[in-house]
Amino acid sequence: MPDTTTSSPISTTTSAVTAADLLADEMHDVTVTVNGVARSARVPARRLLSDFLRHDLRLTGTHVGCEHGVCGACTVLVDGSPTRACLMFAVQAQRHEITTVEGLGSTPETMNHVQRAFAECHGLQCGFCTPGFVTTITAYLEDHDDPTEDEARELISGNLCRCTGYQNIIKSVLRAAEIKREEITRDEGGRA
């Protein structure tokens, strides 16, 4: 932000040229395991993981809402843990397994329990923030099989949604847990 308190009637916005300005991008061959598949692209060090996924790998299900880590729309799973893709460089992701919303279920027929619950409970409206919620909730339900309503609210409280007022997202969390429990019961029943 330039100094606006200057007393001189004429002021100049100066963009100080730092050493960084003089650097051309240095390219890296980056290979990242995304949704179980090793994917490669040649990108500069500054390529954000969010842009790498969206524009280099064309996995546009991961959305970008603020690019400063607050909104959660770009949340992907890094080794299973919800992580802001806008707060990570692609070069940092090379040692990790990334899961995007496409990796949880990429067609209507293969939607996972969370995606199905959102559809049932009207858990989305414009759908822009939704992938970040779906990834976050999916990870949580891996080790919480029966969250309370308060826990569901707490769980989604790091993601912004401007459409739904969150009520139906909370309902979707509870329903997703229920679907998951039903699936487990059914699977166990099938094996028995």
């Binding site: 330039p2 606006t4 308190t5 200057t6 009637p9 004429i10 002021s11 100049t12 916005t13 963009s15 040229v17 300005d21 051309a24 500069p44 969206r54 524009h55 064309r58 546009t60 299900g61 991961t62 959305h63 970008v64 809402g65 603020c66 400063h68 607050v70 919303v101 279920g105 990429s106 067609t107 209507p108 293969t110 939607m111 995606q115 959102f118 559809a119 009207h122 989305l124 409206q125 414009c126 759908g127 822009f128 923030c129 939704t130 779906v134 609210r153 989604i156 409280s157 993601n159 912004l160 949604c161 401007r162 459409c163 739904t164 007022g165 969150y166 009520q167 139906n168 997202i169 909370i170």
Partner: protein
């Protein structure tokens, strides 16, 4: 029997696609396009002395750098005043790139096009602009004082001054047994959709045509503006709104500078060009709303009935007025809510400030109006010692007074005439839902525990579904697929479902066969846009009318084929059959074949429509004089006036006795939008609206310093509520059909937002025992108010 879809909580048909990463939002398109970034003014008010782009030209990957001087013809002219009004005597708009002067921080000055956004921003960093700072006008008081002017030729910083009066307020006020005056203040907020704006343009030099994708609430509007600015035939421009990540009003404003510049650059460079707005840009170069100062004087009798209402308010319209004065006009008219004011005078000044421009944000002036009216109702109740709900009830327009004409002109230039509503019934439902009559006991119990609680209430009426029109086009393919198109756009309201429900019912086809397209000028060139809670009313009725056209045609062709009268036919599950004789039937796909006499067969079904198939009467022309080929049709819905939805909210809040932290314990909504097409979707709209209202009441504001810098231009500091800040919302519905349209529906999109600020103010006032006149309110502000009142009480 086909299940009736209208009124059923049908799961949204768009969801599986959006849930699996299949959505296509603006920045999901055009991965190989050049990308734009902008040098934006760092000053609120300044003259541009010099722009030096030399250091940027050398950046590897920079394609073009444009300043205002580079813009030819209409591209370089001021942006249009979209909605002129006789009272808007000093309308001013900006240029796509600033010419000589900047009037708010964030105004675009230089456009850079590069191979990608990273490089474009590198170039932006290297462009040096010299400015001469001018004194900025920030805040309504400064604008009103007019010691400095935003635009030299807009005296007093006034863009518009409008007075409307019904009855003789002066004499009614003079004769009123009681009068009260309130001074009120409501601050700026913003739509803040999760997806910012964005434009992606593809110039095709082979056929000299342009395709523009924009994250917009009006693709027809953008198309018309782009064609005019670029001097292209309308037939050579198509505009498509892809999936749009929320709008809430900011995307009905058009053309944004980028919506002119990106298509122009695409043509200029003969290459795809894209601009995806980032969050900081959205804060400082899109639009805000809400900022008003209000002065309300009310005269009333001993029973609390209003005799005269005199309102003056000052509306902050920001640096420019491209969207006219729609917002203050709505405040002025919708302020009245469900009440009869006795006599009413409203006067507003719309004022320029050196801040981001102001255009409608969900509620569009109504939250401010509702705040003024509901604060007034509470003040009357407090003055007379009457129950707050009772005072409201005594001022209600009664059901037998409908339609009720206020004698004012509404935002559509037509009379402010309520079509229907049952306000006493709504209030009764709300009191029941929140436990109004039991609250005294609850409060006593809380007080015994050392807790402070308060109950608040707010009522509103919302003019929805304003004209001029929307259209529906329906085409049935030979396989029975029903393609529906309407021109207005979708930002999450579920039109692909709700409109399909209507068409499925009207045509008698399974909803799975119905496919709805919105916001694509290739499919429907005539449309207005999505705003004013109008999509369901306008396009809902339009597609219903279009479906009737297609249904009539299908029945006529089927009647000929089956040699019966059309009246004897019915359609179920996509099959036309003779009533009472189900064996005699023909499916809609076959009718589609028959409706289109062909020269050439391209598949088995088409063979039946060719000239040697022997399926036609040689005495008649293949297409009748009054007929057209194809099983399709369109129609338009154009109402005489808006339809008025209404609702009432109540909340119980708790304020911490020490820290003044504010918690909403319960939030109750009674909502009446006429017949509901899909209660699941209506409920979702209410939830989302209330959440935005809670943001506006307790968390969100635009913090400008005196130099016009927006200090909280990030999601770190602009406090949009998370789930942890939004209460559970309890809802109940009343369905008072609109007599104005065939489906009896009213709009639902904005309703939830409108009364929340008023309701929370009412509840905090009830908890604290002193007036709340300025919103939003934060714990530090409430704490400061407590101290001020304690000092006053002590002295």
């Amino acid at each position: 029997m086909t299940t009736r879809q209208f009124g059923a909580p049908v799961q949204r048909r768009e969801d599986p696609r959006l849930l699996t990463g299949g959505g296509r939002y603006l920045d999901d398109l055009g991965h190989t396009a050049y990308e734009a970034a902008f040098v934006r003014s760092p000053y609120a008010h300044a003259r541009i002395l010099e722009i030096d782009t030399d250091a940027a030209v050398d950046v590897d990957g920079v394609i073009a750098i444009y300043t205002h001087e580079d813009l030819p013809g209409a591209v370089g002219e001021p942006l249009p005043v979209l909605i002129p009004h006789p009272a808007l005597t000093a309308a001013r708009t900006g240029y796509p790139l600033a010419k000589g002067e900047v009037n708010h921080v964030g105004e675009a000055v230089v456009m850079v096009v590069a191979t990608n956004r990273y490089v474009a921003e590198d170039a932006v960093d290297r462009i040096v602009v010299r400015y001469e700072q001018l004194p900025p006008v920030v805040g309504i008081e400064n604008a009103r004082e007019a010691a400095h002017l935003v635009h030299e030729d807009a005296p007093g910083n006034v863009s518009a001054h409008l007075v409307q009066e019904v009855g003789d307020v002066t004499s009614a006020m003079a004769g009123a047994p009681h009068t009260l005056t309130l001074e009120l203040d409501i601050e700026r907020s913003a739509c803040m959709p999760m997806e910012g704006k964005g434009v992606y343009a593809r110039w095709n030099s082979d056929d000299e045509s342009l395709r523009v994708y924009s994250s917009t609430q009006t693709s027809t509007g953008v198309r018309a503006c782009v064609a005019a600015k670029l001097d292209l035939p309308l037939a050579k421009v198509e505009c498509i709104a892809p999936d749009v990540g929320g709008g809430f009003g900011v995307k009905i404003m058009h053309p944004w500078p980028e919506e002119v510049l990106v298509p122009w650059a695409s043509r200029n460079l003969d290459h795809d060009v894209k601009w995806t707005e980032d969050r900081r840009e959205h804060f400082i170069s899109s639009a805000h709303e809400r900022g008003q100062l209000q002065e309300v004087t009310v005269g009333f009798d001993d029973e609390g009935r209003m005799l005269a209402l005199d309102v003056r308010f000052w509306h902050d319209n920001g640096a420019y007025t491209p969207y006219g004065i729609i917002v203050p006009i709505i405040t002025a008219t919708q302020l009245l809510g469900p009440y009869k004011p006795g006599s009413y005078r409203v006067e507003f000044f719309s004022l320029y400030t050196n801040t981001v421009l102001v255009t409608p944000y969900r509620g569009a002036g109504r939250p401010q109006g509702c705040f003024a009216m509901e604060r007034t109702m509470d003040a009357i109740a407090a003055h007379l010692g009457i129950d707050r709900a009772e005072v409201r009830s005594r001022n209600f327009i009664q059901p037998d007074e409908m339609p009720y004409d206020h004698g004012l002109m509404f935002q559509d230039g037509r009379p402010l005439k309520y079509d229907s509503g049952d306000f006493p019934a709504s209030l009764a439902k709300l009191k029941e839902l929140v436990g109004w009559d039991d609250f005294a006991d609850y409060r006593a119990q809380a007080e015994a525990e050392g807790r402070k609680v308060g109950l608040g209430i707010g009522c509103y009426v919302e003019g929805t579904g304003v004209g001029p029109y929307e259209g529906g086009h329906i085409q049935i393919e030979t396989n029975g697929r029903v393609n529906v198109a309407t021109g207005l756009t979708t930002q999450g309201q579920g039109h692909q479902t709700s409109l399909a429900q209507i068409v499925a019912d009207e045509l008698g086809v399974p909803i799975e066969n119905v496919h709805v397209t919105t916001g694509d000028t290739r499919r429907m060139a005539y449309a207005v846009g999505t705003f004013a809670s109008r999509a369901a009313v306008m396009s809902g009725n339009a597609v219903a009318l279009a479906a009737k056209v297609v249904r009539a045609k299908a029945l006529r062709i089927a009647a000929d084929a089956l040699e019966v009268s059309p009246e004897d036919l019915e359609i179920e599950d996509g099959v036309i059959s003779v009533k009472g004789a189900p064996g005699s039937s023909i499916d809609l796909g076959t009718i589609a074949v028959m409706s289109n006499p062909l020269r050439y067969a391209f598949d088995e079904a088409a063979k039946k429509a060719t000239q040697f198939a022997g399926t036609f009467d040689v005495e008649k022309p293949p297409i009748g004089d009054d007929d057209e080929p194809g099983l399709e049709g369109q129609d338009f819905y154009s109402p005489t006036q808006a339809t008025f939805a209404n609702g009432m909210h109540a909340a119980i809040v708790e304020t911490d006795p020490v820290t003044a932290e504010i918690r909403i314990l319960r939030y109750c909504v009674v909502h009446d939008c006429g017949n509901m097409i899909n209660p699941l979707i209506v409920e979702g709209q209410v939830h989302g609206g209330v959440a935005q209202g809670v943001g506006g009441a307790l968390y969100e504001r635009m913090v400008y310093d005196e130099s016009g810098q927006l200090l909280n231009a990030s999601f770190m500091d602009f406090l949009m509520p998370y789930a942890s800040e939004v209460p559970f919302i309890e809802t109940d519905h009343l369905e008072t059909p609109s007599p104005l349209n065939p489906l009896g529906i009213k709009g639902a999109g904005e309703a939830g937002t409108i009364p929340v600020t008023a309701v929370i103010a009412s509840a905090i006032e009830d908890a604290e025992g002193f007036p709340i006149t300025s919103m939003p309110i934060s714990p530090p502000e409430l704490w400061a108010l407590r101290r001020a009142h304690a000092r006053k009480d002590a002295s």
